[in-house]
Amino acid sequence: MSEKKRLDLEYSQLDSDRMRINVGPQHPSTHGVLRLEVEVDGEIVTEVVPHLGYLHRSFEKHCERMTYPQITPYIDRMDYISAMNNEWPYVMALEKMLDIKVPEKVEYLRVIVAELNRIANHQIAVATFGLDAGAFTPFLFYFRDREYIIWILEKLSGARLLYNYFRVGGVSGDIYPEFKEEVLNVVKQVRKTNEEVMNLLIYNSIFVKRTANVGILTPEVAINFGCSGPVLRGSGIAHDLRRDEAYSVYDRFDFDIPVGKGEVGVVGDCWNRNMVRVHEMEQSCRIIEQALEQMPMEGDVKAMIPKRIKLPKGEVYMRAENPKGDLGFYIVSNGTDKPERLKARGPSFVNLSVIPEISKGYMFADLILILGSIDIVLGEVDR
């Protein structure tokens, strides 16, 4: 039998129908309650259809019946891994409408807690991404470290994860005497662990083989899909609202914006997206150190604000750099103490929409990694 003939025979015999597989809604690799309807040809993914809404809690509808300060706890529950960062654009939007100037100390305190929370978020992101690839040890390292960060935030706000710490014109609790020392210790620990994880996970050849050149997201596609945060920066675009729109006191700090450089694999693949997060932790550490240096230790943590917060008629769109990307709040006010309409533009929601685009043509096992590298939280996707 000639070579060609045998091949033809094989093709006709192996020509199988495509198969549809459901991943989730209850599956650890979907990082929450997400259902992916995947069409596979053998082991190659040909189509992905995400089905959302399993965690839909009518956030926007609830907001219309709530006064402005009552909404903050709901916002915590959107991206419950980085609640501090979530609250920030919301209170900034209110402060912009009410024209409130927050005290200097509060600005620095906000920067510190937000950056601490950013580190905690990235620790989870990198840890679970490692877990998706089969690396268990970095997960333990990061979760141990994350606990120290949570302790500090708990001492400040009284809660481990859902803080309700940011208030209009200030924060709910002042710093405690050992605050500075404890934060500096955490920063030291974060750096130490990151160094370990670099050797253990990031440059591990098995990990590199699994994640490099997988799920390539080109910069043009990333912008067109509205991606933001590490997903966009992993594709090589230095877009960071902390620098581009320099809200709060971010213009006073010296920090870099890590982007995917294609050190291993190509720019925009899973490895680069993940690497951006590891580098960002280091940058957050730098910001925290500078903020602690510059922060006035004395003073009040609350500006003078009216007892009942009533927004003037109008509307505002405020966005800030969340660990996962640009989090935006569009608030329409009708002049009362409740919003007429509040729309949240979650980075996870937008970043997730790129999955069908970038996972086609890869292996089924790679799909799990691509999803892990996007770093989504379903609380924010479904709201």
């Binding site: 959302l52 809404g53 912008i223 067109n224 991606c227 109008g314 509307e315 640009d326 309409r341 479904d382």
Partner: protein, 157 residues
């Protein structure tokens, strides 16, 4: 470009479809446009030299009482300028051209707007619900929405 300049630029090419430029206190300056011309105007916003709004920050729909409003928040990566485009459609015939072909992020945003407010985007390839179950009735973020008593025999409260 400032919002005023963007308005003047659009006015030149789209004359009657660009209704007005509003710069009120407590509101980001916005341009109100004719709903039927949304796609063409957005096309100019994305592709015209000097504008190049390549990034859609957000697409929101609102219930304005008699009408439904759609708000586009756009951003240009290159120039770092922003603009807000607004349009209004009657509640009984809420048709807006889809901009999904311009910014693919609009795909899910438009589905969400359809799901929660009930704005129908013409030309969208897959205008189905996204957050609520596919067979849900009504659009919850409308002010006159009444939640159904039961859903598939389960009590809704």
């Amino acid at each position: 470009m400032t919002p005023q300049e963007i308005y003047e630029h659009l006015k030149k090419s789209h004359d009657t479809a660009v209704l007005e430029f509003v710069d009120q206190p407590q509101t980001d300056p916005f341009i109100r446009v004719e709903p039927s011309a949304v796609f063409d105007i957005c096309h100019s916003l994305r592709d015209d030299e000097g504008l190049e709004f390549d990034y859609m920050m957000s697409l929101s729909a609102t219930d304005l009482g008699e009408q439904l409003g759609v708000v586009y928040h756009l951003y240009a990566m290159k120039y770092r300028h922003k603009i807000v485009i607004k349009t209004e459609v009657p509640k009984d015939n809420p048709l807006v051209p889809s901009v999904e072909r311009l910014w693919r992020t609009a795909d899910w945003h438009e589905r969400e707007a359809f799901d929660l407010i009930g704005v129908v985007f013409e030309g969208h390839h897959n205008m189905i619900r996204i957050l609520l179950p596919y067979d849900w009735e009504g659009h919850p973020l409308r002010k006159d929405y009444q939640a159904p008593e039961t859903y598939h025999g389960m009590k809704v409260s």
